[in-house]
């Protein structure tokens, strides 16, 4: 039924099967939309946020997807600016994943501000003393860049590409994509950094506060570095999941291994920097502020030393070392393990820097404040996941996302007997005769 839209040389499941698979995801999406509308119509009293938690599950999700979407800017940087040409075989998917992550982040922010109609205030009535203003500027601009990077992919749909204007537009955009990629890398450096900077400048909250280099706290650099390190990990993980679901090899191993190797070295250097930062914070900053390290990890039901161990060692050093070593990186199971640990690690880091920071008491007479999200918060946080699955599924089905797919999964020609049987039923000029490929209107 939709054969004419499916990329040339690619095989897809029947439309009914595709739609049946998406139905449960669409239902989850509707649940999220319902919760979103409740938040917009009834207000933020639908959430469990309070005076202690101005930032909550949404901001954690926001920071996590922005870090995980970092694969787009870093892959673009590597391909267009460093010249790692092999990455052209995965860059489309990295862009798509980045687009999903950043559009999700903006959607979450639109819910979180409570009054989305006033979203433009941050641009017009900008508080230039806030790192979040810079985040809003860069995030929005980078979303434009990602849209520009995703647009040529959409225009390469088999039918859209037949329209001469779209074909040429897509071609022109590819030609100057390096400029957009450089702009994206510039914007990403600053917004990733400023997201980290928000916690690092909180001098009233010693758990988050870090020493500065000029006006930037260490967390500024750690956040940018971790997004560049773990973003590609997420790209690899989603690629692997897509390969499992479609039961196809979509990207050659050498491309995955190259990205894993770069990601591994970035993660290793990040692990070194993060460990040094933690040691300095624990041994110098915390005592200077009048606290002991144990103050931040005891006397509460959730946040113990275990979280520091999991973030730094289990999901920091371990996946980094696994990806740096060629032997372990090229073992499929260990690669899976390393990228999953990496994704958990960076998400946990964002949790710690958003939620644990707010949980720690800042005055002697205060207690730890733990927070449980309301169902509306959970539903609206799952909403972008459902949206992402739908957009990725549609893009995979109708767009040439994976340049190596046709080569890795050649379509076998139908048996001679079948072809002869089908022959008389198909008109030579019909779309089915050319595998659903319509002839150009201009030709």
């Amino acid at each position: 039924m939709d054969a004419a839209l499916i990329p040339k040389g690619a095989k897809r499941c029947p439309l009914w099967q595709f739609l049946a698979g998406l139905t449960p995801v669409a239902l989850i999406l509707l649940w999220g939309v319902y919760a979103m509308l409740l938040c917009w119509m009834k207000g933020l009293n639908q959430t469990n946020m309070n005076n202690a938690y101005g930032f909550a599950l949404w901001i954690w999700a926001d920071l996590a997807v922005i870090a995980l979407g970092g694969g787009a800017f870093f892959s673009g940087f590597l391909k267009y600016l460093v010249g790692k040409d092999e990455l052209k075989n995965i860059i489309n998917y990295a862009v798509l994943i980045g687009f999903v992550c950043y559009s999700s982040a903006l959607l979450i922010l639109a819910i979180d501000i409570g009054q989305p109609l006033r979203g433009w205030f941050i641009f017009w009535h900008a508080n230039i003393h806030s790192m979040l203003t810079e985040v809003a500027f860069c995030l929005t601009c980078y979303f434009f860049v990602l849209t520009i990077e995703y647009l040529p992919l959409m225009l390469e749909n088999r039918q859209l590409d037949r329209i001469p204007f779209f074909h040429k537009l897509s071609h022109n955009m590819h030609e100057i994509m390096a400029i957009f990629a450089a702009t994206g890398a510039f914007l990403s450096f600053f917004h990733q950094g400023s997201l980290g900077g928000v916690a690092g400048v909180l001098f009233g909250r010693p758990f988050g506060f870090r020493e500065h280099i000029l006006i930037w706290p260490f967390t500024f650099f750690l956040f940018t570095w971790s997004a560049a390190a773990y973003g590609p990990c997420f790209t690899i993980m989603i690629t692997k999941i897509t390969e499992k679901i479609t039961r196809k090899k979509l990207v050659k191993d050498n491309v995955i291994w190259l990205l894993a190797k770069i990601s591994g070295w970035m993660m290793l250097t990040y692990a070194v920097a993060k460990t040094l930062d933690t040691i300095y914070w624990a041994s110098v900053t915390v005592p200077e502020k009048g606290f002991a390290l144990s103050y931040f990890y005891t006397n509460n039901a959730l946040y113990g030393y275990w979280i520091l161990f999991v973030e730094l060692v289990l999901c920091g050093w371990v996946p980094a070392l696994l990806l740096v070593s060629r032997k372990t990186r090229e073992n499929n199971k260990i690669l899976w393990l390393a990228v999953i640990l990496g994704v958990i690690g960076v998400s946990l880091n964002r949790w710690v820097m958003v939620l644990q920071v707010l949980a720690v008491p800042v005055l002697p007479f205060l207690q730890w404040v733990l927070y449980y999200p309301s169902w509306q918060e959970v539903a609206t946080t799952i909403l972008p996941v459902a949206y992402g699955i739908i957009l990725i599924s549609l893009s995979y089905r109708y767009l040439p996302i994976f340049p190596q797919e046709a080569e890795l999964n050649p379509i076998e020609p139908p048996p001679v007997a079948e072809a002869q049987e089908a022959g008389p039923e198909i008109e030579p000029d019909s779309p089915e005769a050319s595998g659903g490929d319509l002839q150009p209107a201009q030709a």
């Binding site: 203003t133 810079e134 001469p164 040429k168 955009m173």
Partner: protein, 52 residues
């Protein structure tokens, strides 16, 4: 915010923040304008060569 808005102040913060924003938007805008205009011209050129 533009420099002619009543809230604007000529200080480093406003110039850096808004300068960066307009700089990025200008690159994005000019890049897309170039692509669209070139695509229109290329398409017209192709149509012209078909007619002759």
């Amino acid at each position: 915010m533009f420099p002619f808005s009543f809230e604007w102040i000529w200080d480093l913060g406003h110039m850096v923040f808004h300068g960066g924003l307009w700089y990025a938007l200008t690159i994005i805008g000019l890049g897309m304008t170039y692509c669209v205009i070139k695509a229109v011209l290329d398409t017209q050129k192709d149509n012209g060569s078909h007619h002759h």
